[in-house]
């Protein structure tokens, strides 16, 4: 298929940026979206134009590096996938595709389609851990049984890949789904109980400090989340936060 691409180009953090138009031809349905961009970039290099910079790494939907806003949707039109798992069979011959970076004040553009997600790092550093040192004498892993349901739920939320699609797709640029995932994981596990209250208070405080917006329950994040993390965990985080605010010392 032949496609017209409208791609966001921005030299650096300071540059204003804008859309450029490129054409690609001979794209097959089994190419991934990023392989299509590889074809475009190879073409640009041969023409002597600087190729478009975009973030990507594992190309199998788990590292959370790729981050494109395609035709107004985070990770494009398919569901439960990251951009690297999006295949060109989702598009039609002759189509025009708009490709933009995530947009959020808390995730500024570095160059072209690459954004700075270090705000997520700082949120995790504010409490996304269990305070346990490495030790050869930790108690036996089976000393503390965990109900399967709790372990499974902890896993479901822990599968978050930190890509930022929830933020990009939210009209409020809210990071609640991301933060809720980490808070909930530890809240479901016995190992997370000791720091449970302080964790949610610290992580929410850091989230607000970074300039992310609030949740107004539109549910867009859940739809675009490549790992299908449910917004019920946002409710859980709110509950955790409320009870911690009231009872924390």
């Amino acid at each position: 298929m032949d496609l017209t691409l409208k791609v966001w180009r921005q030299k650096n953090r300071e540059d204003k940026g804008g859309l450029e138009t490129y054409k690609v031809t001979g794209i097959l349905g089994h190419y991934s979206f990023l392989e299509m961009l590889d074809v475009m970039n190879e073409q640009l290099i041969m023409e002597g134009t600087e190729p478009v910079a975009f973030d990507h790494d594992c190309r199998e939907g788990i590292c959370g590096t790729c981050s494109l806003y395609i035709n107004g949707e985070a990770h494009g039109p398919d569901r439960k996938v990251t951009t690297c798992q999006l295949h060109m069979r989702m598009f039609k011959d002759g189509e025009t595709i708009y490709i933009e970076p995530w947009r959020s004040a808390a995730m500024p553009v570095i160059k072209d389609l690459i954004v700075d997600r270090s705000s997520f790092e700082r949120i995790q550093q504010s409490g996304g851990f269990v305070s346990v040192n490495t030790s050869g004498n930790t108690q036996d892993a089976n000393a503390l049984p965990i109900p399967k349901m709790n372990a499974d739920k902890a896993f479901d939320v822990a599968s978050c890949i930190g890509c930022g699609a929830c933020v990009a797709t939210c009209k409020n640029s809210s990071a609640m789904l991301f933060v809720a995932a980490k808070v909930s994981q530890y809240a479901y596990l016995p190992q997370g109980q000791v720091e449970r209250k302080q964790r949610v208070l610290n992580m929410v405080e850091q989230m607000d400090k970074e300039g992310f917006g609030n949740c107004t329950n539109t549910g867009a994040c859940e739809v675009e989340c490549p790992k299908s993390i449910s917004i019920e965990y946002i409710a859980k985080m709110n509950r955790e936060y409320l009870s911690a605010s009231i009872t924390a010392e």
């Binding site: 041969m46 002597g48 600087e50 295949h87 851990f129 892993a141």
Partner: protein, 671 residues
């Protein structure tokens, strides 16, 4: 040729590590505060090492090329992590894990290292659970296990098909805790581009800030390389796009020997190639072989009909299928080790039985597992006479809960539903057992420079067993390096802060700067990927699953030529003082172009078949094992460690003889 000192402690095998730990020099807590350590790479090995070293009190600087340490490619490991816990009461023990690993590695790994790995394996699971890693559990709330290839017990712990992700996020959380405390300084979007040596000791690195292009000098009392494997030398592999050998190769060029580069793992279950524009290959976890059965049609006519789309695989009866692994290896069946499974798939496809258009695919079929689980679930649910439909539904739900994400990945890539029709799979480059040579303390042949995880060579011999990479990465990072590095650093307490304003740092920075300038000024006509693909093609063709003398000689000459062309004709657009992914790639491919030639040279010199290294000249000619790989213990039971001498072809061989005191060397038989 010198003899390498691997510094293996004396005493009986099972006491070596304990005794060594008890006699190692320690650094007192006040002195640790004055000692800096650089860790390059933030995967399971690097992330866990950085966190542990910081917990102990050292000042750690950590580097990764990704925008977050959580994105290192350990994240993509699927199936699980081994540990000798014997929770299943199936006769597992530290010794058995040790034995399986040495045998699985085709007797080309270092006994003492592997035993240590087995000893600490249980601690890893304890540590990860304590961090909040959500492993799979049974209804009693206890940890569940699955089986992997090459073993007869269930010792693999897992978190669905995302075990690597969960373990890495565990290490990442420990790292975050230390970053928040200020004990770790994290440098994201930074790439190590040179090692700095002062008076023969590793004293720092030159790193390039990938966003600004700036070259930075960082000093430390020790440098730890945890930058992963070099599978991307094949261009197409299951590695991430950015996975590279640059850090490992730079220390090699500064004096660290590079060991056994030809030991590469070709993983049997990957999604087959689709065409020329493919950028990478995707793994389907080995855990699928717990429940999937591998087959091709028995009759060549059926193969052709399937390729033409006239016949569907589900239409073939049991009698018309050749479950070739079950046929050839009845004892281990579909769970033979990876090297064996890969060669068997290649053999069937070379014989013309490949089931897709390219002729390079075999089936991995879940139909009988779905039936089995469906019946079991129906019985548990006390259904009196379940219909076939009920059974399928229940069976698919069990498969979904075990491998859901893998089935979804497959469906998105291939656009076929693996619950209804068998998966198509083919071997692909996955892991590199070879790597930087290290002694028992994990120190390279450069003093003060350590290498851990996949980047080193030490534990897997010529073939790695499934679910052992995660084990090794975390063993090195959590439980081995933090002890052994103290032995060296105890002599550094009087060194004081290391200045970066010295001729050594200046020279190293200039070297890097000149290299970048040279690359930018070639202004040729071909993209970096063009050369990378040529290299990958030569590697796959001559240094892939089967190798012979003629092909390997050809590979060495071809790779040398590609390297010359690269340095004359590569085109790198943009500039060096901003974010420039093409420039990053160029630097990495330049290193792969050297490594690839050493790889072929190593494969050429090792005229035996062992593990992932299969020489066509060395096969069993008769008997029960006819056609299987033939090892030559008399001449090749050593580690080949190569010393850099300019051109890769001029590298000098150093041998570390492997001594097997506790295990008798036998031919591996999985029949």
């Amino acid at each position: 040729m010198s003899v390498l000192d691997s510094k293996i402690p004396d005493g009986p095998l099972k006491d070596k590590w304990t005794n060594h730990k008890n006699h190692i020099n320690l650094v007192n807590p006040a002195n640790k505060r004055n000692i800096d350590i650089i860790v390059v790479g933030t995967g399971l090995a690097g992330g866990s090492a950085a966190a542990s070293l910081a917990e102990m009190g050292y000042n750690v600087k950590t580097f990764c090329y990704q925008d977050s340490p959580r994105r290192a490619h350990s994240i993509a490991a699927q199936g699980g992590i081994n540990a000798a816990k014997n929770y299943q009461n199936d006769g597992d023990s530290v010794y058995r894990l040790f034995y399986d690993t040495v045998k699985g590695g085709d007797y080309r790994s270092r006994e003492a290292n592997v035993h240590r790995l087995s000893e600490v394996s249980g601690n890893i699971i304890d540590q990860c659970v304590a961090q909040g890693v959500p492993f799979g559990r049974d209804y009693g709330g206890l940890l569940d296990n699955r089986s992997f290839g090459g073993v007869l017990v269930s010792r693999t712990f897992y978190a669905k098909g995302q075990t690597g992700q969960q373990l890495l996020l565990g290490a990442y959380s420990a790292l975050n805790r230390q970053i928040a405390k200020g004990k770790v300084t994290m440098y994201n979007r930074h790439e190590m581009v040179e090692l700095v040596k002062v008076d023969g000791k590793a004293r720092g690195i030159i790193a390039r800030n990938l966003e600004t292009g700036e070259l930075e000098r960082h000093s430390a009392h020790a440098v730890v390389i945890a930058s992963g494997g070099y599978g991307n030398v094949f261009f197409l592999s299951t590695n991430a796009m950015g996975s590279n050998a640059t850090a490992a190769w730079k220390i090699h060029k500064k004096g660290a020997h590079f060991a056994n580069p030809c030991y590469t793992q070709i993983h049997p279950t990957c999604i087959p190639r689709s065409g020329d524009h493919q950028s990478k290959l995707t793994l389907m976890s080995e855990s699928l072989r717990n429940d999937g059965r591998i087959w091709v049609p028995k009759n060549i006519e059926d193969v052709l009909a399937i390729r033409e789309g006239k016949l569907m695989p589900i239409d073939l009866s049991e009698e018309q299928r050749d479950y070739y692994l079950e046929r050839m290896y009845p004892a281990f069946g579909n769970l033979v080790p990876r090297d064996v499974a890969s060669r068997a798939a290649k053999e069937r496809c070379d014989a013309g039985y490949g089931v897709n258009e390219t002729g390079e695919a075999v089936y991995l079929d879940f139909a009988s597992a779905i039936q089995r689980y469906g019946k079991q679930e129906a019985a548990i649910a006390r259904m009196e006479s379940p219909t076939q439909e009920d059974i399928l539904k229940l069976g698919e739900a069990v498969i979904e809960s075990k491998y859901g994400n893998l089935f979804q990945m497959y469906e998105k890539i291939v656009a076929q539903d693996p619950y209804k029709t068998p998966m198509m799979i083919y071997p692909a480059v996955h892991y590199t057992m070879g790597g930087v040579w290290v002694d028992y303390n994990l120190m390279t042949s450069v003093e003060g420079c350590y290498c851990i995880g996949e980047a080193n060579f030490s534990d897997h011999g010529a073939n790695r067993l499934g679910a052992s990479a995660l084990m090794q990465g975390l063993a090195d990072g959590y439980f081995v390096l933090p002890y052994t590095i103290g032995d060296y650093l105890s002599n550094e307490i009087r060194t004081g802060k290391i200045s970066t304003e010295t001729p050594e740092f200046e020279e190293a920075e200039k070297e890097v700067s000149d290299r970048i300038e040279k690359l930018m000024n070639i202004k040729g006509t071909k993209s970096v990927d063009h050369f990378h693909k040529l290299l990958g093609k030569a590697m796959w063709e001559y240094v892939g699953m089967a190798r012979n003398e003629e092909g390997l000689k050809k590979a060495m000459a071809e790779i040398k030529q590609i390297r010359t062309d690269f340095w004359n004709d590569v085109r790198i657009p943009g500039d060096r003082n901003s974010l420039n992914p093409e420039l990053e790639k160029a630097g990495r491919v330049a290193d792969f172009l050297e490594l690839g030639e050493l790889f072929a040279k190593d494969a050429l010199h090792r005229n035996e078949s062992c593990g992932g290294h299969f020489r066509e000249e060395s096969v069993e000619l008769d008997g029960e094992q006819k056609g299987e790989a033939k090892r030559n213990d008399e001449d090749y039971a050593y580690v080949a460690a190569w010393e850099y001498k300019g051109e890769p072809a001029d590298a000098i061989l150093h041998k570390e003889e492997l001594e097997f005191k506790d295990i008798e060397l036998k031919q591996r038989s999985y029949k």
